[in-house]
Symmetry: C2
Subunit: 272 residues, 2 copies
């Protein structure tokens, strides 16, 4: 189990390891009144990745908190959309970096308004100056160690929706808050999960849907030329709160915009 | 300036970015009653590295908090040694990862007992299974993104004082909480600051002292063979709380132990 904290009543204790070391992980869930978009996948990811960090939490306990949170917060947003955030940390204590055995995790639950929604006609993005480093022990985990994304996000502005971060070899990996998916002449392409800082739940959901329809989906490193070359028929940003976002322009280079993908597959209707 | 929080009165607000993203940095200062070991260097590092993260804080304000903290906490430790911890975050707010301009930082101040002191006859250590990844934008910064060190620290135990983490090329970079210094036949060797996750204040202090005495100090990548080969005359772990720690055995391989370094240069006497 965990110690439960409601953010509208205060924060976590001063010795929480989430603050001290980023020793924890989080989920940001788009809610429609009391239902969550891809809620099961969010909970599955949190339980699985907490396990990789040896933080014990059960899906049932998390699901119960989500029900309680929905009842507590949904009314504040007049029955409309809002964001439910779960921050799970290893808890308090340990000797420096070294955790103690059997620590009780802390769970902080908060609600906030929806962010501005993206332009369905496509957004303008760029390449980030900040490289992305991914430790193989942490690949894909939405941990609280996100300072690289914070630095890259300082490049964003009113006219720049997202920046794409590359690894040391120059391969494009992901945006600050989005995974990337390309439509190429020979099918869909996205970087492999093992290379990702955060393996998004929308990414996984969409790859499964595409494959179910018999579409060819390849997980492989993505070079800049994959995006700028003539066989790129569209670039999409994936985020479970923002949905499937087509890119109109990257680094001043116009891309074909296909709004059809978001119409065929609307994750925002997958409410649970 | 910053909002000041005393850990004995509570933690940071629930929307603090230090918890959310590890968006901040910290210093752990060894105190002797009301004086701090290498205190100036700790404060200089925090101000400099906060500046690299665009978190504005003045040295004078931090120094005043340290004086206030010493008066507040020292008595609890009967005039002996204790640990003063400063956790500085970017504050509350922003849009997701993206900070707002002009945010007010939060500073959390806490006190804790000294950890067990190392064996002056040398400690037993090993190589870590967890690789270290260092983003060049963050090299050396003691940020709150320390989950790699937490994972590596789970390898520690009663009979294992430290583990040394290597980069992707297999070069030894640093321990979970220590920098490394080798005594080789042709002088002292330590990995360059640009390769470090955390550039320790004791490391910098000691390198300056060695150079002042005319000793040869080379900052270059350190291979495993540098440590295990016959021209290694000693390996030292550096930590401003623990001091200069000679290594007796690494991965079952015995090393020459030279306790003289810690005798000649005793950082724990550098009180301010």
């Amino acid at each position: 189990m965990f110690r439960l904290f409601w953010a509208d009543e205060g924060g976590l204790p001063g010795d929480d390891r989430g603050l001290a070391y980023g020793d924890g992980l989080f989920e940001t869930i788009r809610m429609a009144d009391q239902k969550g978009v891809l809620l099961s996948r969010h909970l599955e990811r949190m339980v699985r990745d907490a396990g990789r960090l040896d933080i014990g939490v059960s899906r049932g306990d998390l699901a119960n908190v989500c029900i309680e949170a929905a009842q507590r917060f949904a009314g504040q947003f007049n029955g409309g959309g809002w964001i439910l955030k779960l921050t799970l940390t290893r808890g308090s204590g340990g000797r420096g970096y070294r955790p103690s055995p059997g620590m009780e995790p802390n769970l902080l639950v908060s609600a906030s308004p929806l962010p501005p929604m993206p332009d369905v006609d496509g957004e303008v993005i760029d390449f980030s100056k900040v490289p992305l480093t991914v430790n193989p022990f942490l690949a894909g985990i939405k941990s609280l160690n996100r300072i690289e994304q914070v630095l890259a996000a300082t490049e964003l502005g009113a006219s720049l929706f997202e920046v794409i971060m590359a690894d040391r070899e120059g391969n494009l990996v992901e945006g600050t808050r989005t995974n990337i998916l390309l439509r190429k002449t020979d099918g869909w392409v996205t970087p492999p999960a093992s290379s990702l800082a955060v393996a998004g739940v929308l990414r996984q959901w969409l790859l499964e849907r595409l494959r179910q329809r018999g579409e060819k989906v390849t997980e492989r490193p993505v070079a800049v030329d994959d995006v700028l070359g003539p066989d790129c028929h569209g670039l999409f940003l994936l985020n479970s709160v923002l949905g499937i976002v087509p890119v109109r322009t990257i680094a001043g280079h116009d891309l074909p915009v296909d709004s059809g993908l978001a119409t065929i597959f609307n994750p925002l209707e997958t409410l649970e």
